[in-house]
Assembly symmetry: C2
């Protein structure tokens, strides 16, 4: 993957990563998706469906909408199709496709993009391309994390260094692990209207054991650990320091520990009235 440079997906594609993405979706589903529902008969494009973690949530929450889910990875598309079939949902079609070269004539009522922009070198161009797929008045929903939002108790200086190494690794691959806070200006720059951002903080202390395990350990810490080989190979951090950072993160899962992380969710509308053929 490293040979692909800016197109590399820093989190990797192995089975453990697929498990992590599904754990993440299960734990965070309500927080991230409780207010996303699409009307009966509407056509929704999910961009970058990955292994289908969000696809299952989306199709379940809007069983009468019709989804099209795409991903650049054929393996991911296959995994997503299998996940949706296991979940018993039938309102989605899959296709291997790059969002920058979609079939001519595709149009949708709504577009959904989750944990994708963080990996792109040109997120505004991606958003512009997606806006071009929307029918007048159509909406986009974007969800991204922001690794700079992580706070913890006890304070972990090594954990901050390990997280920073992941941020720099992703930046070297053309992405931005701090993109969550930028959704508003990105969507405005891409020409969307009615941009509205709401933060979704995951707050974890010992009174929430499901999140201690499902989010702090199996989602966030697992994601940082997954970048170990890449960060060390790139010389971004010493192995001892990285491993101390992982211990810092595990330390926050003890009874007096606290960990917080914030996702940002944005909705926006294609600028109705500015579409081709409509009066300006």
């Amino acid at each position: 993957m490293m040979g692909e440079g800016q197109r590399a997906y820093v989190h990797g594609y192995d089975d453990r990563e697929a498990d992590r993405l599904r754990d993440q979706a299960g734990t965070l589903a309500d927080l991230l998706h409780h207010d996303t529902g699409y009307p009966e008969g509407s056509a929704v494009l999910e961009v970058g469906c990955g292994v289908g973690a969000q696809t299952v949530e989306l199709t379940r929450r809007s069983p009468r909408a019709h989804f099209t889910a795409i991903d650049v990875s054929a393996d991911s598309v296959g995994a997503a199709r299998a996940a949706v079939e296991r979940a018993g949902m039938r309102n989605v079609g899959f296709r291997r496709a790059d969002l920058f070269s979609l079939p001519a004539g595709w149009t949708f009522d709504h577009v959904f993009v989750c944990f994708v922009l963080e990996h792109l070198e040109r997120p505004v161009e991606a958003l512009e391309a997606l806006r071009g797929l929307l029918r007048p008045g159509g909406t986009i929903t974007v969800i991204e994390g922001d690794h700079g939002s992580a706070t913890m108790h006890p304070a972990g200086a090594a954990a901050c260094d390990a997280i920073d190494a992941l941020v720099r690794l992703q930046r070297a691959a053309g992405g931005d692990a701090l993109i969550g806070r930028r959704l508003y200006p990105l969507l405005v720059e891409a020409g969307f209207a009615e941009v509205a951002v709401s933060p979704r903080m995951v707050y974890v202390d010992a009174s929430r054991p499901q999140l201690v395990d499902g989010f702090t350990r199996r989602t966030f810490t697992a994601m940082v650990e997954g970048a170990r080989d890449g960060a060390l190979a790139a010389g971004l951090i010493e192995p001892e320091r990285f491993d101390a950072g992982i211990r810092d993160l595990h330390r926050t899962t003890e009874p007096d520990g606290v960990f917080t992380y914030t996702f940002f969710k944005a909705t926006a509308r294609s600028a109705a009235g500015q579409e081709a053929g409509a009066p300006v």
Copy 2:
């Protein structure tokens, strides 16, 4: 004030600071207080009422509860009394008092503590003292900020340095400007039961002009600016760097800027059954 060492209130006591505290309360009132209401006839102690910013909100939202508001500063108590009178509320009595040496025999149904623990060298002892004032089954509500939660776009390295100087200044005075994330372990250590923490993020972009002005400029940036003299006198940062940090913060108020900050609100119950005279 500096002569008092750990007791110094780093934000200062001047008129501008009083305005800042009232601006802050007006902007954040719903976010912080919408879910705080006390029953008719209940006795509530507000600890560290300052100039009355929260007192006005509390007494308005629970007009049939009876409040006692205390502060160590006689000037603050006077200002708080005047603010509550202007607001037309009569359900509160004021007293200059130190929470570590309250009159014998005081008991309350509920205690409310907002932006106070961050200034104390021994927050757990303070919480233990307050727990001793609660009738069995009584509750405490604690609200604190956390300067480590601030994120911004564009990223401002100088702003982070200026904020860090404020954090170190407050630490030198015995306080902790990163205390928000610690409310859960502090309350547990102080012997409270049913500790529940909820984060309250203030998310500010150009679509929310009232928050751009009321929070980013007039609350957070004003607070950091208020620490300039102290931070420079203590040699914690160079003046040029500090001023560049203030410019970074103002930069986030431009149309493509974003600023976020998180307050933490905790509620807990005195461990009923463990009070003096009750069966253990």
